[in-house]
Symmetry: C2
DNA sequence: GAGTGGTCTAGACCACGGC
DNA sequence: CCGTGGTCTAGACCACTCC
């Protein structure tokens, strides 16, 4: 089992990334350059670049070049959506996972959040009360995301993004219905979470998150 | 922004997978067939196949063909390891995530485990006591994996596999040291988890899992 | 030997972005 | 206009598997 040609490209680029020779947002050598450097055909180079692009670390721009980026969240959500497609997973498992991630993110955010962060949470909570359905949906997403940001765990944030996208694709309509049917409860639950976070109440906040998910499950069943 | 050629292949195959036209372990059309069917070049076909292979749903076998498989765990662990490579994540975040997944898996396994499962856990725990270091390392992995299996959540199991592989690559030596230095405690902690699971003690088992991770953190710091 | 994946050749043309 | 990615042509040869 000898190495495949495109593996050379993967190794070569990973090594340069590790050496910080290529940095975030930076350009990688053009396809034709890699052909010369590594002495392989353009086909093989392109196979490697497609893999890395799909992994979420490269982005090719027609006419400009290929750049080092961080879009691994999208790549993860692709994998998850393939899992669902192949019926190896389902909506129940996805929300189950999100619940425990939400809880953990909440706990960590509680101890790490700054004053600035608390103000941000406060602003989002206010918007939830005032805005229309669209505005509330956006605020909902921002609230959850902000909590993850202050959890100081990139891995959690990445998984949130991946799961969010998946839930977005699958459960958008359901969530929309639920949020519009029982608006009062929906706002109340989110504000409770926000309030607990601001006041640093870990246990109470956790219960709110739990409540939030129980409410979601109920609403989903009713739809 | 029009569609890229290889996207046609992705769409075509995904559609056939969704229709159950291609099943697990089954063979997909050969590259040359896809060229004819879709009217695109072999290069483009291959780019698409490389993407899907790297996503963990295809596997090409030289001289045989390309098959539909489920190796998405490996694909996930690739993404995670790229994250670490690009210093967007680290060992702390990975173990933190694993801890909460372990806990959740434990809780769900507690309520879903069968008599057969309990016997399996019992056997693994015994092996841990009797065997040498290698045997214990294997038993350790099997214990954790069995718990995930009975959690009845494929997504959790998939993430475990991905994280395990990553930890294996990064922390193998540390774990080995820790396990050999403080063998008694190590065995004791695992047996406690096993025992709690068999007896259905949720809260007590959760504390054991927590203890297990605290012990790990201590040992890692000491190394 | 037939079929398959893995790789390469040596070009070509197009579409796009930046100068 | 030049460099870039996106795609294609029309083959070719090798290594591998299965029969």
């Amino acid at each position: 089992m000898q190495k495949k040609a495109y593996d050379q490209v993967l190794d070569y680029l990973k090594e340069r990334i590790e050496r910080k020779d290529i940095v975030y947002g930076g350009k990688i050598p053009s396809e034709r350059e890699l052909v010369e450097t590594l002495g392989i055909s353009r086909n093989s180079v392109r196979e490697a670049l497609r893999i890395m692009e799909h992994t979420g670390i490269l982005e090719s721009h027609h006419g400009k070049g290929t750049y080092l980026v961080n879009r691994m969240g999208e790549s993860l959500s692709d994998v998850f959506s393939m899992l669902v497609l192949m019926e190896e997973s389902n909506y129940r498992e996805v929300t189950q996972l999100r619940k425990i991630l939400d809880k953990q993110a909440y706990v960590q955010a509680c101890t790490s959040i700054t004053e600035e962060g608390k103000e941000k949470i406060q602003r989002i909570a206010s918007r939830m009360e005032a805005g229309d359905l669209e505005e509330r949906m956006r605020a909902d997403h921002e609230l959850h995301r902000t909590i993850y940001e202050y959890s100081q765990n990139h891995l959690l944030l990445l998984l949130l993004d991946a799961l969010s996208k998946l839930i977005h694709e699958q459960g958008e309509i359901v969530l929309r219905q639920a949020a519009s049917i029982d608006t009062g409860r929906w706002i109340c639950l989110h504000q409770k979470i926000a309030q607990c976070l601001i006041e640093g109440k870990i246990e109470e906040g956790l219960m709110s998150v739990e409540e939030h998910y129980q409410w979601l499950e109920c609403e989903i069943k009713m739809c």
